[in-house]
């Protein structure tokens, strides 16, 4: 292969990923006058973000004027079990409202309050109605607004183009990306000064997931291979309410918006079992009777939130416990009932896509009958470790934002905090990349050898005479992850899983893609199973290391949070010899005002006794 004959495209910045984070980052880069390219595995507007339902969290204070960034910040920290990056949680809470308003200025049409402002809805773990939303298709609104704005900003969009590997110069700075067009199979070399990774998570490593095929953890794997660190990767969120029937849609998401709109969880005895699962930390802020919960829903002041709106980790574990105790629904979940709580018209208006989804896929009319739901793998709290203000990773010139980055969510993400994460940190990553480029003296240059190597590795599955079927390999991986690294984890089980994953490595080295390179899903799959294996290994090993239960990470052999583990994050990196290396790193001390607000009694915070001196910017 002659590198000079490769199709070569030059940009200042290449954004990998066209979800909310990638698009927002690209818009920021372009606004600074940088030559900006965006690549994505699927067509524009189809990224995972399009599936988001419930809303994006921002303390706009429209639906309840008592809300402000401090309360949002405190909710986020509590939801993340205080393992979040303090500074990122601060930036997020402070900047989300401006980012949401900006979306409106770019054409987003959110549901309105009576006064004509952006309406907000309740969600688990958020003290006040905080989620800007559009029915239950908020992600569509977000991605379409960014897309329709973005196409006029001079950005080059390269659709159905997959990144294979990051390329660096001799000093270890980002200098390029090797990729290929899915439709033609043609290779492409991007020569760039910076890369912003916005590739989302890796939920496809599990069989029951709300995630699409794109979520194979490519970005995490590429960054890891290039020398970046992964952090908090053991924290994988199981959303409490996925569809459980029919089998082919098992895992498809049922938005938390159903509970936000008043939906309740029932076991097969008709009990609202969540009242039995309220954790210590939340007891004083959660209703203890059905009556109080209903009065809260009706908006009565001084009442406390229903337990169905506890954080996702809590609700997911409770559902699992009910099913295990034999109190589950016929199809192996629990009941989620909105039919008896809201009239049919309201349900169809507020939850149209849920109505549609159940009617079409499960033949259930949710305005008449309860849904059956159970936990589904949904989100990666962990990801690529970044600098809190610039979003740069340990690799010079490599930035990350959105679901593929770590820090904001700690041990558990609050619903709605992802969409706001995308626009806040997408913008900051774009800014960070711009500053990095300004300080660069000359463009980094990648030599020919690593380029040839990258493309040679990519063609190997096509050139092999025989080998493993990439689809069946993925099924095998699924079985391992479901059995060994599920919602409830145990040390010995994970160690066995790690061994099995190691054994899979040689099989994956030997996958065979039948057919040619032109739009060949077998080849695409063959290339992504490697990322999936790597991500699975990282989750399993970090999960095995963290000997406590915190947020989404639940260990039967180490129950409850342990103080010493609250002081560290686990970081995963590639050692010099190519093996996976784990390290516990001390968490940085938070600014004094942040720890005061984070741990404040809610009344003290709201009365201004605590947090009044915090800087607003």
């Amino acid at each position: 292969m002659d590198v000079s004959e490769l199709l070569t495209i030059e940009h200042d910045v290449l954004v990998i990923g066209a979800g909310g984070a990638g698009l927002r980052a690209a818009i920021e880069c372009s606004s600074q006058g940088l030559s900006t390219g965006v690549i994505s595995k699927s067509l524009l507007g189809k990224a995972h973000t399009v599936m988001a339902e419930g809303g994006m969290a921002a303390a706009l204070g429209n639906a309840d004027s008592r809300d402000n960034w401090k309360i949002h910040f405190r909710d986020t920290m509590r939801g993340g079990k205080f393992l979040n990056a303090w500074r990122m949680a601060e930036l997020h809470a402070k900047q989300a409202p401006a980012r949401v308003r900006e979306l409106q200025e770019w054409g987003a049409v959110f549901d309105r309050t009576k006064d004509g402002l952006i309406n907000q809805r309740n969600f688990g773990g958020h003290r006040y109605p905080r989620l800007a939303h559009v029915g239950d298709r908020t992600g569509l609104e977000l991605i379409r607004s960014l897309q329709d704005h973005g196409i006029h900003q001079g950005i080059d969009f390269h659709m159905e183009c997959t990144a294979l590997e990051l390329l660096k110069d001799e000093e270890g700075r980002i200098a390029g990306v090797a990729g290929y067009w899915r439709d033609t199979g043609r290779f492409v070399l991007f020569r760039v000064k910076t890369v912003i990774m916005a590739t989302g998570g890796g939920g496809r490593c599990w069989p029951v997931t709300s995630n699409s095929w794109e979520y194979t953890g490519d970005g995490l794997a590429m960054a890891y291979d290039a020398g970046a660190e992964l952090m908090d990767i053991e924290f994988t969120q199981f959303h409490p309410t996925g569809m459980v029937w029919p089998p082919s849609v098992r895992g498809t998401l049922v938005t938390e918006g159903v509970r936000g709109e008043g939906g309740v969880l029932l076991n097969n005895k008709g009990e609202r079992f969540m009242f039995n699962y309220v954790p210590e930390r939340f007891a004083s802020e959660t209703a203890d009777t059905v009556e109080e919960a209903d009065r809260w829903l009706a908006g009565e002041e001084g009442t406390r939130r229903p337990p169905e709106l506890l954080t996702r980790d809590v609700v997911a574990r409770a559902i699992r416990a009910e099913v295990e105790a034999g109190r589950g629904s016929p199809k192996g979940g629990v009941f989620l009932d909105i039919a008896s709580r809201r009239d049919a018209e309201a349900i169809k208006r507020k939850l149209p896509s849920m109505y549609h989804q159940f009617r079409e896929l499960a033949e259930v009319d949710i305005t008449k009958e309860p849904m059956q739901v159970g936990p589904t793998l949904h989100y990666f709290m962990g990801g690529i470790r970044v600098d809190h203000d610039t979003q740069m990773t340990a690799v010079q010139g490599l930035f990350a934002c959105g679901e593929c980055a770590a820090g904001l969510h700690g041990a558990n993400r609050l619903g709605g905090n992802s969409l706001s994460d995308l626009i806040v940190f997408g913008q900051l990553a774009g800014k960070g990349a711009g500053e990095y480029i300004k300080a660069l003296e000359k463009a980094p240059h990648v030599e020919d050898d690593p380029i040839k190597e990258a493309f040679r590795r990519a063609t190997a599955p096509l050139n092999r005479e025989t080998g493993e079927n990439p689809y069946l390999i993925q099924e095998e991986l699924h079985e391992i992850m479901a059995q060994h690294v599920g919602i409830i984890r145990e040390g010995e089980e994970m160690r066995e899983g790690i061994k099995k994953l190691e054994e899979m490595a040689s099989k994956i080295e030997n996958v065979k893609a039948i057919g040619a390179s032109q739009y060949n899903p077998a080849w695409h799959q063959a290339l992504s199973v490697r990322s999936m294996l790597l991500v699975s290994q990282a989750v399993a090993m970090a999960g095995e290391m963290r000997e406590e239960s915190r947020g989404a990470h639940t260990r039967v052999d180490f129950e409850g949070e342990r103080e010493e583990w609250g002081k560290v994050n686990i970081v995963v990196r590639k050692a010099a010899d190519g093996t996976m290396e784990l390290e516990k790193i001390e968490r940085p001390e938070p600014a004094k005002y942040l720890s005061e607000i984070g741990y404040a009694d809610i009344d003290d915070l709201e009365s201004g006794k605590v947090g009044a001196d915090a800087p607003e910017e």
Partner: protein
């Protein structure tokens, strides 16, 4: 479980043909599930698009037994037990491979539409609009860009007038802007001169296939045609309105009369 017969179009821009596959179909499965089974076990390189598997992204549109459908929302039990299922790519667009069409033309149409231009905020820095004024706009914004309406519109499909008409998807996109209380752009000249709203002759085929049940023709295209008439006094369309007995609409925006 029961065995079913599938005929799937395999080929590329050079040509191709239907290939028959037999596959087991499980309880509650949709067409996309079966295509995945065939892909995993019999045709590893079968090209198709999908993302969400829940009717939210519009990636998996194809023609199933001659009708444009989302493969992820088409349940197998909609068809007779012995019926053969035929899958082929959307016909109105060039094919890339197998079930994957080249839809890039649509993205080009989108780019031709002038971007949203936000009105200035109220004195307190906030933008206000009321739910009843945006219900219609939100209906149009439900579009998941499956391009099935584009596929069935005879102006694009049979007459291949892609040069003259941007298609129903983009008619409602403009309608969503035109009816947006915060949009300050004048959309009417663009609709008439560039996007070709007059090419539509209201057959409603687009509305029939829309998986989001957007009333493309009656709620989107017809009001846009009317606004064009109001502006340009197009005698043909005035006659049309007289025939269909539709009332003349008042304009939403005061600036309209000062432009042009």
């Amino acid at each position: 479980m029961a065995e079913r017969t599938f005929r799937i179009w395999r080929g590329d821009s050079e040509g191709g043909d239907f290939v028959e596959y037999k596959s087991e179909v499980g309880e509650g499965q949709v067409v996309l599930d079966v295509l995945h089974t065939i892909q995993a076990h019999q045709a590893n390189d079968l090209a198709l698009r999908w993302n969400c598997k829940a009717g939210k992204c519009g990636s998996c549109s194809m023609e199933i037994n001659g009708k444009p459908k989302l493969a992820c929302m088409t349940r197998m039990n909609m068809y007779e037990p012995g019926e053969t299922i035929t899958c082929q790519p959307l016909k109105a667009f060039p094919v890339v491979r197998d079930l994957v069409p080249d839809v890039s033309w649509n993205y080009k149409q989108n780019k031709r539409i002038a971007p949203f231009k936000c009105k200035p905020a109220d004195a307190d820095g906030k933008h206000r609009m009321y739910q009843e004024d945006i219900d219609r706009v939100q209906e149009f914004r439900k579009c998941i860009e499956c391009f099935m309406c584009q596929d069935v519109c005879h102006v694009l499909r049979d007459r291949d007038r892609k040069d003259a008409f941007a298609g129903p998807r983009y008619m409602i996109r403009v309608a969503g802007l035109e009816m947006n209380p915060l949009d300050d752009e004048d959309r009417i000249p663009e609709l008439k001169h560039e996007l070709g709203v007059a090419m539509c002759n209201i057959t409603r085929c687009c509305t029939e296939v829309c998986p989001e049940h957007i009333n493309i023709t009656d709620n989107g295209i017809i009001p846009m045609k009317e606004r064009v008439v109001d502006r340009f006094y197009d005698p043909l369309l005035i006659a049309f309105r007289a025939l269909t007995g539709r009332r003349k609409r008042t304009k939403l925006r005061t600036v309209e009369s000062t432009k042009e």
